[in-house]
């Protein structure tokens, strides 16, 4: 059994899940902080 498809699949999933987590956390932080700043300026 060729092991490389398993290794590549595991690394791809780990990178994808970490990227999704970080991008979601970053986007929600930016959106919330922008809303708070906009309200402060009003």
């Amino acid at each position: 059994m060729n092991p490389w498809p398993f290794v590549i699949a595991a690394y791809s999933i780990a990178v994808a899940l970490t990227a999704v987590l970080l991008l979601w956390a970053f986007a929600s932080m930016r959106r919330a902080e922008a809303a708070a700043d906009a309200l402060k300026r009003r």
């Binding site: 398993f6 290794v7 699949a9 970080l22 956390a25 919330a32 902080e33 708070a36």
Partner: protein, 237 residues
């Protein structure tokens, strides 16, 4: 911890810490994964599949460490009424659930070529799956309590009770000897050869920094949302 109880003081610490954790985490995680894929020899028994170690072990560690964080935040909320404890617990949960899922998926992929099966209902795998479902339950409970304007005390009690699963995960390989291997990396040493082991600390520290960055970003988001809600309430009253 009590020095950071003031949200303004916490944000003065969290803003630069988020950037540093992201940068250091990305450098170490990418470097460790590249080293694990290209610079280490294959294992004499498992061959090339041993390279899954460099992502599976950090994800298992962070899946469990996340619940330690939730339990600590829950104790801090119930006992000391720390004002940021509930926010911290809710912020840790998505990152913990992600790494618990990553542990289950990478472990399953590793299991197929080494054990000949994607899944086995043994102690370690089942207790880890239970941890993932506990995360989903905590996220649902904490969100529902927050939407109702509660303090998050029910979620905090759930967080403390759920911690019972942590020693079960840790000792499962000793209590029930099945497919999953026993402990090969401990505090005092490791049974894995150093030529294979050396990239592991890089990915362990790297993913831990990324976990910390994601948690701080979620805490900052929630504090900003609370600020908006409080201001809206003042404007309408």
């Amino acid at each position: 911890m009590h020095a950071l109880a003031n949200p303004s003081r916490f944000l003065r610490f969290a803003r630069p810490a988020t950037t540093w954790l992201l940068l250091v985490g990305l450098a170490l995680a990418v470097g460790g994964m590249a080293a694990g894929l290209t610079l280490t020899p294959p294992d004499y028994l498992q061959g090339e599949t041993v390279r899954i170690l460099y992502i599976h072990v950090p994800s298992a560690w962070l899946g469990m460490a996340g619940w330690v964080g939730i339990a600590a935040a829950s104790v801090s909320q119930i006992v000391w009424r720390h004002p940021l404890a509930a926010v911290a617990g809710r912020a840790v949960a998505p990152a913990g659930a992600t790494f618990a899922a990553m542990c289950l998926i990478t472990g399953s992929i590793w299991g197929r070529p080494t054990w000949g099966t994607w899944w086995e209902w043994d102690g370690r795998l089942t207790s880890m799956l239970l941890l993932f479902f506990l995360y989903l339950g905590y996220i649902a409970l904490a969100s529902a309590e927050r939407e109702r304007g509660g303090e998050g005390r029910i979620a905090a009690i759930y967080g403390m009770v759920g911690a019972i699963n942590l020693p079960i995960i840790h000792y499962s390989v000793l209590w029930w000897r099945t497919l999953h291997q026993g402990e090969s990396i401990g505090i005092t040493g490791s049974s894995i050869d150093s030529s294979i082991l050396w990239p592991l600390p890089l990915t362990m520290i790297g993913f831990t920094c990324l976990f910390g960055a994601a948690t701080l970003m979620r805490m900052r988001a929630e504090l900003a949302e609370k600020k908006v809600e409080a201001r809206m309430r003042r404007m309408t009253s």
